[in-house]
C-alpha cells in the first residue's frame, strides 16, 4: 500500500514532489494511451536514474521461443510478447553544454505531475537546479490524440531563471529499444531506414519474425517567447536514432517552447511501402491544426467518452477518483474500433503477462464496453474470437482433439497460445466457456441475434465439440467426469471435476444445441452453410446431449453446496480470518505446494459460476455458497474482489460489498500489491465498474428487461451512471433520498426497479 502518494482529486491523478524511488511507479500511473498506441510516463529529456522505458503499439508483437526446463507435448513452440516500440517522445536538452537530467540535478523543486482524465492530457512541471548552477523551469504537456490516433503531441516549455544561456534541444526518434522482459538479450526490431526531411524525421523498422512494419515519425518546431526559430536544425543520426538539434541563445526568463508531434504508422492500416507517406499525411493534419487545436479536439473526444461512461460518486472523493481512473484506463487501452485488437492485461503500461487477450475480455471487459459504448464495440470483441476460430481448432488438435473441436488459448495475440505452464495452458480450459457465455451475454443485453447465425454458432459448435471430447464416462460414477483441469482458482491445479468447469461445459453444450435449433428455424441459409462447413450431424448432437444430461457435479450433502472439485473437503478447512496476518498474501509467504493443498481460493471459482448463472439458482443457494466459499477466498487475483462485491451487494451485505469495492477500485492508485511499477491491472478495472453498476446498482437484464436494485454504500451521498441499453441511454442516480432515472432516446422504455415495472419516458426524470 502507498495510500498518500497520489493526491485525492475527482478528475485528476496528481503527484507532488520528486522522489527517485517513485519514478517507475509513476511512469505506470501516468501512462497515456489512445487505443492505437500508448506509453509509460517516461521523461522526454534524458534521465539517468531508475526508469522503465515503454512505448507500445496496439497489435504489434513478437513470437518468442518457448523455453522451459522440461518440454511437455502440446506446448506452443512460440508465444507472443508485448513489444516495446521505438520511442518518439525523446527530447534531449542541454544548457551551456550540460545535459538536463533530473537524476543529476542539485535540486528539483515544485515537481508535479497531473494526469487530467477529464481532458485526456498529462502535464509535468518542475524547477531544477543543474550541477552548473543554472535554474531551469520546465512545463510539459503531452497527449496521444484520440482524433488522429496515429499521433501524439508534446509541448515542452523551458525557462532559465538565473542566466542568459545557450540551449540546445534535440527532439529525436529512437529505434534502438529493448524489452524490459527480454531475458535472452534478443533483438526484436530491424531498422530498415532512417530519414530526415526539414523538421521531420523517420525511423522505419520492422519486427523480426512477425514482420510488422512501422514508421516512427516526428516533427518539431522551436519557439523563443512565441517566435518560431526558422533555422534548419542540425541532423544527428546513428544506426538506430535520428535527432534534430536546435541551438538557441536565450536571455534569463525567456521561454523556449518546443512543439513536437510524433507517432506511428503501421502496416495494419497502410500498405507496407506507404508508411512514410502516411506519416507525412498525419503530420500535415496535426501541424495544420497545431498543438492547441489538437488539444481542444482531445478535450472534446474525452468529453464524449465521459458523457456515456462516467460514474459519479458524491461524498467520497477517493472512490470517485478510483472509479474514474479505472474507466479512463480502459478507454485508453481499447476503444473497440478495430476487431483485430483486444484488451491486454497491462494495456500500454507494461510488458508483463505477454499477449493481449485473456478470458478477462469476455468475463470482465465485455459488460463494460457493451454498456458504455455502441453495440459495434461488443460485436468487434466477439468477432475477434470468431476470427481466431481456426487457430482455436488448431490449438485443440495439438492437444489431441479432433473433428473441429476448438480450444481457445489462455493468452493470445493472433489466436495462437502464448502461455506455457502446462497446468494453465492445457488445463485452465474454462476460458472456452467464458467465450460462449459472452455470445449469450451479448444477445441477452443487446437483443441483437444476428451475431449467432453469422459467426457465433460456429464458435459454439467448436466449443461444444471440445467439451464433448474432453469429458469421459466414469464407470465408477456412471456419469461424465472431467479430469485434470484448473479452475479460475489457480491455487488448485490438475483437479478432477471442477464444478465451475463442469457446469460451464454442460451449459455450453445445451446452449449450442439450443442455438442450432434456433438458427435452423429462423436462419435456414446460415444453418445450411454452417452444417456444411462443420459437417455436424444429428447423431453428434445427440451424443453431446447425452453428456450434458449426465454430467457429474461434486456436491456435499452435509454442507448442501457444490464442491469446488472432487476431494475439496479433505483439506484442512481453516478460514482465512483464522490464518495469521503474517501468512498473507499466501502467494508471497507460502511455497507453491502448500498453497496447492490448502483450501484457499485465489479468485471466485464456484462463485464465478454463481455470478454467470445467477438466475439458475435461488438467493438462498447463492447465500449458502457465498457463506461457504467466501471465508476461504484470499482475493490474491485482481479479478476476485469485484465478483464478491457484486454478490455481497446482492445479499444485502453492503459493508462487505463496499470493502471489496475499495480493494478493486484503488488497487493501482494505492499500489496494494507493491508492483504498480510493472504496469497497471487494466482488465480488472472493468470488474471495478461492474461492482458499481451490477453490485450497488443491481443492474441485470432478465427476460429482455433492464432491472435495477440500487443500494448505496453508507460512505457515499449518491452515485450515478449511464447504461446504453439497445440504443437508448438510461441514467440512474442513486442517492440517500432515492433513486432517479432519466432516459435519452425516442421511445419509452419499461424497466424493473426492485422487481417492479417502471416506465421511463424520454427526457423525464423519474423517481423509483
Amino acid at each position: 500500500m502507498n495510500q498518500d502518494y497520489i493526491q485525492a482529486d475527482p478528475w485528476s491523478i496528481i503527484e507532488e514532489g520528486f522522489d527517485r524511488e517513485q519514478v517507475k511507479s509513476s511512469e505506470s500511473l501516468f501512462s497515456i494511451g489512445n487505443g492505437a498506441m500508448g506509453q509509460r510516463a517516461n521523461f522526454e529529456e534524458h534521465y539517468s536514474g531508475e526508469t522503465f522505458q515503454g512505448s507500445y503499439i496496439a497489435g504489434v508483437y513478437y513470437p518468442d521461443k518457448t523455453r522451459v526446463g522440461w518440454w511437455k507435448n502440446g506446448y506452443p513452440e512460440y508465444f507472443a510478447k508485448v513489444l516495446n516500440a521505438p520511442n518518439w517522445i525523446g527530447i534531449n536538452i542541454s544548457i551551456n553544454q550540460e545535459p538536463l537530467d533530473l537524476n543529476s540535478c542539485k535540486k528539483v523543486e515544485n515537481f508535479r505531475r497531473e494526469l487530467n482524465m477529464k481532458e485526456g492530457w498529462y502535464k509535468r512541471s518542475f524547477v531544477a537546479t543543474m550541477p552548473n548552477g543554472l535554474e531551469v523551469a520546465v512545463e510539459v504537456v503531452r497527449f496521444l490524440s484520440l482524433a488522429l490516433d496515429e499521433t501524439g503531441a508534446i509541448q515542452y516549455h523551458l525557462q532559465i531563471l538565473n542566466a542568459d544561456v545557450e540551449v540546445s534541444l534535440t527532439p529525436y526518434v529512437d529505434g534502438g529499444i529493448k524489452n524490459m522482459d527480454s531475458n535472452w538479450a534478443d533483438k526484436f526490431w530491424n531498422i530498415t531506414n532512417i530519414a530526415s526531411e526539414g523538421n521531420r524525421a523517420y525511423v522505419n523498422s520492422h519486427t523480426m519474425k512477425t514482420d510488422f512494419s512501422v514508421c516512427t515519425f516526428m516533427q518539431a518546431n522551436v519557439f523563443v517567447d512565441g517566435e518560431k526559430i526558422e533555422e534548419a536544425p542540425k541532423v544527428e543520426q546513428t544506426e538506430t536514432l535520428v535527432g534534430h538539434t536546435y541551438s538557441v541563445k536565450v536571455a534569463k526568463n525567456e521561454t523556449i517552447t518546443l512543439i513536437k508531434f510524433g507517432g506511428y504508422t503501421v502496416d495494419r492500416n497502410h500498405p507496407k511501402d506507404k508508411l512514410m507517406e502516411a506519416a507525412n499525411k498525419v503530420l500535415d493534419k496535426a501541424s495544420s491544426l497545431g498543438f492547441d487545436a489538437l488539444l481542444q479536439k482531445q478535450k472534446e473526444s474525452w468529453a464524449q467518452i465521459w458523457e456515456m461512461s462516467d460514474i459519479t460518486i458524491e461524498g467520497d472523493v477517493k472512490a470517485q477518483q478510483g472509479i474514474r481512473f479505472n474507466i479512463f484506463q480502459l478507454n485508453q487501452t481499447y476503444l473497440g474500433k478495430d476487431s483485430r485488437l483486444n484488451i491486454g492485461p497491462k494495456g500500454f503500461t507494461g510488458e508483463k503477462y505477454g499477449g493481449s487477450t485473456y478470458w478477462d475480455t469476455e468475463a470482465y471487459c465485455l459488460p463494460f464496453y457493451m454498456t458504455t459504448k455502441n453495440q459495434q464495440v461488443a460485436w468487434n470483441l466477439l468477432q475477434y474470437r470468431y476470427n481466431h476460430l481456426p487457430k482455436a481448432i488448431e490449438n485443440a488438435e495439438k492437444l489431441g482433439f479432433s473433428n473441429g473441436a476448438a480450444l481457445y488459448p489462455m493468452v493470445t495475440m493472433n489466436g495462437e497460445e502464448c502461455h506455457n505452464e502446462w497446468e494453465i495452458t492445457f488445463e485452465e480450459i474454462h476460458r472456452n466457456g467464458a467465450i460462449a457465455f459472452a455470445i449469450y451475454n451479448y444477445y441477452r443485453f443487446t437483443g441483437d441475434y444476428s451475431y449467432i447465425p453469422k459467426m457465433g454458432l460456429e464458435v459454439l459448435i467448436g466449443i461444444a465439440r471440445f467439451w464433448h471430447q474432453r469429458v469421459n464416462f466414469s464407470e465408477e460414477k456412471q456419469q461424465y467426469v472431467m479430469l485434470g483441469v484448473t479452475g479460475p482458482n489457480e491455487y488448485e491445479n490438475n483437479v478432477n471435476n471442477n464444478w465451475y468447469t463442469n457446469y460451464l461445459a454442460k451449459w455450453c453444450i445445451e446452449y449450442a444445441i439450443e442455438q442450432i435449433g434456433e438458427v435452423a428455424e429462423n436462419y435456414a441459409d446460415d444453418h445450411e452453410r454452417i452444417m456444411a462447413k462443420t459437417k455436424l450431424t444429428e447423431a453428434e448432437i445427440k451424443d453431446w446431449a447425452k453428456v450434458a444430461a449426465n454430467m457429474y457435479f461434486p456436491y456435499s450433502e452435509k454442507h448442501q453446496v457444490f464442491l469446488q472439485q472432487d476431494g475439496f473437503l479433505d483439506k484442512e478447512m481453516i478460514k482465512v480470518q483464522d490464518l495469521g496476518k503474517t501468512q498473507r498474501p499466501i502467494n508471497q509467504k507460502w511455497s507453491w505446494d502448500r498453497i496447492l493443498r490448502s483450501p484457499y481460493i485465489k479468485q471466485a471459482d464456484v462463485l464465478q459460476g454463481f455470478y454467470f448463472f445467477e438466475d439458475h439458482f435461488s438467493k438462498e443457494e447463492l447465500e449458502r455458497h457465498f457463506d461457504f466459499y467466501e471465508p476461504f477466498t484470499v482475493h490474491e487475483s485482481s479479478l476476485s474482489p469485484c465478483v464478491h462485491s457484486i454478490q455481497a451487494a446482492k445479499l444485502g451485505r453492503m459493508e462487505q460489498a463496499y470493502t471489496f469495492y475499495l480493494r478493486t477500485s484503488r488497487l493501482d492508485l494505492d499500489d496494494y500489491n507493491k508492483e504498480v511499477e510493472e504496469g497497471l491491472h487494466i482488465t480488472s478495472m472493468a470488474g471495478t465498474w461492474m461492482s458499481i453498476v451490477e453490485g450497488f446498482g443491481g443492474m441485470r437484464v432478465l427476460d429482455d428487461t433492464l432491472n435495477f436494485e440500487p443500494q448505496i454504500p453508507e460512505q457515499w451521498t449518491s452515485f450515478s451512471f449511464k447504461i446504453n441499453f439497445r440504443e437508448q441511454i438510461v441514467t440512474i442516480t442513486a442517492s440517500k433520498e432515492g433513486t432517479f432515472f432519466e432516459l435519452t432516446g425516442n421511445d419509452t422504455l419499461t424497466i424493473k426497479v426492485n422487481g417492479k415495472f417502471v416506465e421511463l419516458i424520454p427526457g423525464k426524470r423519474i423517481t423509483a
Copy 2:
C-alpha cells in the same frame, strides 16, 4: 530399436563399419569410466562430423540459475549441472600437412570399435583414405585406470600404407569446452594457468561459482617402429589449450606409436595449490609402469570386479552381453570408494537430467552394490544421505516445514535440490520413503545394525517428521490424507492419496518409532545424543503414531485393490493392449494433458509398493494388484520393466518375466527409445541385475536368512551369479538340470531354497 548394430558377443561390445549417423550413439555405448572420471568414446583425432564431446569428473558440478517462465515459491534458486570437463584425450594428426579427419576422408574401411568389458579397455581401428590419397591405418587402445584412478592411457598406432610422408602429431589438453545442455551460452570454467614441462602439459582451471579446482594433465611419447623420438616437441598454446607437436618423417608401413597418459587431479583429493604436484606424481607412477603394465593392472582390476559381480547366462548370447553391459557400466560409474559421490542417471556418458543422485540410488542401485561389493560400499551410499541431512531439513524449511522435518531433494549433487518442476520438486516426495527403506534394507541384508544408532536414526526422525507434517486430518474421511503429491508414476501429477506414498509414509513413521525404541534399549548413549540433538519428545512420537494408525488408503471394493490415488477409477479404463500401436509411446504421441488424465502408468507405482513390501501382502494380493495394474502400465521409464519382471517371475509367469527382462537389459544396446546418443541409462541397469537375481533367482532375505526360488527362462540353458552375504560368497547356478550352490567362506551357511532349509558348506557344491 536398432537391433543389429552392436554385434552379439559374450564379453565385448563391437561395432563394425563406419556410419556417420551412428557416431553419437557409439560415443555413448563405448563410453569408459573408472568411478572417478569418465568420457564418451570421442575420437582422439579431430572429427568435423556430428559429435557429442563429453568428459566428466565425479563430484565436479556447476550451480546453474533456475530460469522458469513463472516462478513458484520454493523453487531452488540454483540447480546443479553435470559439467563437461576439460578434454585430455585429444591427439591431432596431420599427414603431409593435411589433417586426419574421418569425416572428410574419401574412404573409411575396416572401421571397428570394441569395448572389452572383461578387461576394461576400448579399442578403435580403421583404414582411411585421406583427401590427398594417403592410406592410413590406425589402431587406438584407451582405458581409464582403476588402479590409478586419476589417469587414463592411450596407445595410438598409425601407419601410412602407400607413401613415405611427414606426420605431425599433437597430443593436447583442452580447457575450452562447453556443455551440450548449455542453453544460455554460459561459461562454466575459468582457466587459471597453462603450463608445459618437457613432454608434460597442464591446464589448471576451476569451475565458476562452485570453485572446484582441477588440474588436467597429459604426458606423451612418440615412437617410430618402437624407437622413441627424443626431440623435444614444439609447444603450441592458446588461451585454453596446450599441445605438443611431434613431427616425424616415416616411410611407408612404418608404425608410429603415441603413448599418452592423461587425467585429472582435483581438490576433493588434494590441496588446491598442490594439484600440479599431484599430477606429476600420478604421471611418474604411470610412466614408470608404462602402458603395457598399466593395462595389465587394468585387466586384473576388472577380473576382481567380475569375480564377484558377473552373471553368466548360457544359451543366449544377447542376454549374456546385455547383463554384462549393465554390470560393467554400473562399475564404471560408481565403485563405492567415496561417500561424497553417487550414481548419476547417465553416469559419465552424458549430461541429461543434471545432478547425480535420484531415489534410483536407494530403490534400485543399493541392492546391486550391497550384494556384489563389500559392505562398506552400501554404507557409503547410506552415509551420503546422512551427510546431506542438514540440507534436506533446509529444503523442507523452504517449503514451509519445520521442527527438523527433512525432505530429501528429487535430484542433487551436494544435498541441495536440483530440479525445478513444481509437480516433481515439491510433490514427488515418496523419494523420502526410499531413503528410509534403504536403511531398513541395509540392515535386513547385512545384519549390521550399527548404521542406525550412528547415523540412520537421525535420518529416520527427519523423515518421520516430514510425513507427520505433510498429511492433514480430513474431517470428511476422519482419517489422515496426503494431498497434492506425485507418485512414482509421473504420468499423474498433484494427486490426492497416492497409495504408494501414503503406505510408505505410514511405514516410515512406524519404522522410525520402532528404531527409536531399539536404539533406546541397546544404544543408550546414541539415544541420548540423538534425542538431545533432535529435541524429540514422547508427545511428538505419540502424534506420529496417531497418523500412522489412521492413514487413509484408497481402495476399490469392487476390484479388491488399493487404488493408485483418489479417483483413479474415474478414468477411461482402456488397457494398453487395446490402444493402437500408433499411439505409443504416449509420451511422444500424446499431449501432456491427455497423458495426465489417462489411466496409463509410466512406471510401477502401486506395484513399487508391493515390491518394497512384498512380505506385507499375500501372493494372491500381489497377483490381484499385478493383474489390475500391469495392463495399464506403459513402461515408458527405464526403471519400470524390472519391477514387473521380478513380480511376474514371483507369480510364475516366466514368459512375461523374460519379455520384461529383455526390455530392460538391452535398452541401450538396442537403443529401444532412439535416444542412446544422449547417454546411457545407468541407474536402471541395476534394475536389470535385480530382474535376474531377485526375479529369476528369487533371492530374498527374510528373517535373517537368504532365500532363493530359482526359475530359468525357457530360452536359457543356465544362469549363475554370486551373492556377498554377510562376508560369505554364495554362488548359485540354475540350469535345466537343477540348481547348484557353492559357498566361499569359513562357516557353514543355512539358506532356504524354495522354502526349504539347505545347509551350505564351504567349498562343497550342493544341489537343491
